[in-house]
């Protein structure tokens, strides 16, 4: 197991290096940040000054070398726009994104698994059909549209929940989080539901398909023939076996919900990382974009690692040494 983890970490370093190179080069090709940042009325003297102040007057390979040197000592550079360390700018917004992603995944899993189980065990009941039809809607309706409809219904028409923004925060494990107080939760509810909708549908459909497939297998029939209680057949034998694909998907989806919540964050004016990185791309704020993507790539790799480790716990037949990363 130790070897497995170490090999994974070595691969991580390689992936991070390649990512940084690609993003660095890509942004360089898009355009010159100075053109976007300086006032349009600025003359050449001001443009040259800004270029020098941001270190953009040096050739690109020198800029990259400087970046790598800094990165090795944990410094990913200062944001052009905010004049603060890029990592600090990102980590300041991270709790907002994490709590939203967490809440959305909780909603998706706590509703998705039971609903999927029900639909899988009673495929012909009208309720199951309604669940499956609903999940198609959840899949196909675009996020931004659903978000606006949620705002129009619950904030504008009914006035039950606030339309946009993040509520007051309280400290939890050293992070400023808003979902652990009632007022903050009111703000988080709509964006979390919006974010959860797609994942919820995915989990329902996946759970149902797994249940349908596994129910026909011999071990379930055998368990039933042995006279085990229905609850035990489903709760222990069935659930354990459908968990492996579910955990993989949930893990990957958790990553994507953190990294790409930008549509929901924009519509609900949620001050998270997604909105930050889009703004940074438009302003060609290279240090923030590079740092963000490195953080995201790192996060994806770590989630995958955890998923692989969970595999071996859930299914003793899987040996880590056989998973070649």
């Amino acid at each position: 197991m130790m070897v497995f983890v170490l090999r994974r970490l070595a691969q991580t370093a390689l992936v991070l290096a390649i990512t940084s190179l690609l993003v660095f080069g890509g942004l360089y090709l898009i355009g010159d940040p100075v053109e976007i940042l300086v006032n349009p009325a600025a003359d050449q003297i001001e443009k040259d000054r800004a270029s020098k102040a941001l270190g953009l007057d040096k050739p690109i390979h020198e800029q990259y070398l400087g970046f790598v040197t800094g990165a090795l000592s944990g410094d990913l550079g200062n944001s052009f726009v905010y004049n603060r360390p890029a990592l600090e700018v990102i980590s300041e917004r991270m709790p907002a994104t994490l709590e939203l992603a967490f809440l959305a995944m909780v909603i998706a899993v706590t509703l998705g698994v039971p609903l999927g189980l029900y639909a899988g065990l009673r495929p012909d009941s009208p309720v199951s059909k309604a669940i499956m039809a609903g999940s198609i809607l959840g899949f196909s309706l675009p996020t931004f549209w659903v978000g606006l409809i949620l705002i129009m219904v619950f904030a504008v028409q009914l006035g039950w929940l606030p339309s946009t923004g993040r509520g007051p925060t309280t400290e939890f494990l050293g992070l400023q989080l808003s979902i652990f107080n009632v007022e903050g939760l009111r703000y988080a509810l709509l964006p979390a539901i919006n974010l959860a909708l797609f994942k919820l549908s995915l989990i329902i459909r996946l759970t149902r398909a797994q249940v349908r497939e596994q129910s026909l297998l011999d071990y379930i029939r055998f368990a039933r023939a042995k006279g085990l209680a229905n609850r035990r057949v489903i709760g222990v034998h069935l659930l354990k076996n459908i968990m492996i694909p579910l955990v993989t998907v949930i893990g990957l989806e958790l990553g994507s919900v953190i990294a790409f919540a930008v549509v929901t964050e924009t519509i609900f004016a949620w001050p998270g990382m997604g909105k930050l990185v889009i703004d940074s791309i438009f302003q060609l704020d290279r240090p923030v974009v590079v740092a963000y993507l490195l953080v995201v790539v790192f996060m994806f790799i770590m989630i995958n690692l955890v998923v692989d480790l969970l595999y071996s716990t859930l299914d003793p037949r899987v040996r880590l040494s056989e998973l070649h990363g």
Partner: protein, 526 residues
Amino acid sequence: MIRTVASALGALFASSLLAVSAQAADLTIGLSTPITSLDPHFHQLTPNISLARHVFETLIETDENQRPKPGLAESWKSLSDLEWELKLRKGVKWHNGQEFTADDVIATIKRVPNVPNSPASYAFFVRPIVDIQAVDKYTLRLKTAKPHPLLPNDLSAVMMIPKSVAETAKTEDFNSGKAMIGTGPFRYVEYVPGDRVIMKRNDTYWGAKPAWDNVRFKMIPSAPARVAALLAGDVQLIEAVPTADIANLKKDKRVSLSSAVSNRIIYLHMDSDREKNSPFVTTADGKPMEANPLRDPRVRKAISKMIDRDTIIARIMEGQGVAAGQLLPETFFGTSKTLKPEKYDPEGAKKLLAEAGYPNGFGITLHAPNNRYINDAAVAQAVAQFMSRNGIATKLETMPSNVFFSRGSKLEFSLLLAGWGAETGETSSPLRSLLATFDKEQGLGAANRGRFSDAGVDAVLSQAMTTIDDTKRGILLARAAEKAVGELTGIVPLHYEVSTWATRAGITYKARSDQYTFAYEVRPTK
């Protein structure tokens, strides 16, 4: 379990009912663009300036038509061509209780060009000042190297901070709130990046007291969400109302709208420099063409005649634009009384093209940004269609502004659509940047991406820029505009954008041409 969930939901909805009965003297504003810094001298950007102006003030302010008016300076006059005297307002207190004096002004002007790592500094506004002396506590003498009639306009961009702050504070001290000490009508309370800024009224303010005890600025970049927040009553005022919603909001009794023509013109720039092989010029059937027809003023005038501005404004801008015939709307300083928007005239355009030697037209590509100006891509599409219909086969390519401006400044385009906001509020700003001959050393033609150049225009402009007398300078600027735009069509003016604000009923906001949203100018109607 079910009971706890139900009671939790009940609590959620009950607290929303409580929120309705909030105090009347609190104001929440929905801003369209997040600020990047609270340091008033770090990043020159409209949202930053608009917000900082609540806490910090300038020596000279501008009214809603951007004419200078007294601010922290009660009066100013030019003693000679190179020397100015300012009388400061007496009895103004900083938020920390100290008195505002000439020393603070000197320290501020010293700090402005020296903010480390500034991506867009304010140095430009104080660079003409070569010497500044305090005659007494309330009198300042400023010297410039050359006659600089725009000094009052430039000073209206420089926000004052106390000497103690100017000499020590870094940008992060402003963002943390420590250095947020101004003289303005509001005091800083809290800033959460990307989310909100909170301020409270400054009860020792020297001027008219704002109507609000507390103001909360929420940053809501998504336009439909901003409108929804207003309709839901979560905010009482929003800026940058999207054109698509204006018709509906006009009918809605819960809100009222206010709008003003802005200082931003949307225009076409043409490659009027390259003698041959302009990058996107082809023959009418798309083959390479050596000659550059855009050098001919008649061709440029023909393009102007091909575009039906009124239709673009009515259909695409939903009425949120004013047809443009020069660089700024007529209410601004230095504008011409004779320049009018070009009439839609396909026949006249054809005649001009034929006279210039292109009876069958030619081909070109129009380049435009798609996320910078109001409905920019749609406007560009309409322009390209009008041109194609009337004799110039025009292709369209739109791109994000970060790509567009870099390529435009490298002169990679033959025909481009862009916009210009005259921050000084007078005609010299667009003339100097868009139409003066490109000159790196003098800082002229910085945004002249068509490299238009005319010695006559340059001469009148440079004479205007050294004329201190306002009346004479106004006439000279108007004359330069008439020659550059009217006669030579150095740019094709399309329209001036209209900025619109929406408020809940019972609140009014006097719309401004400079697009700033000032809480102290929001008033209850009762």
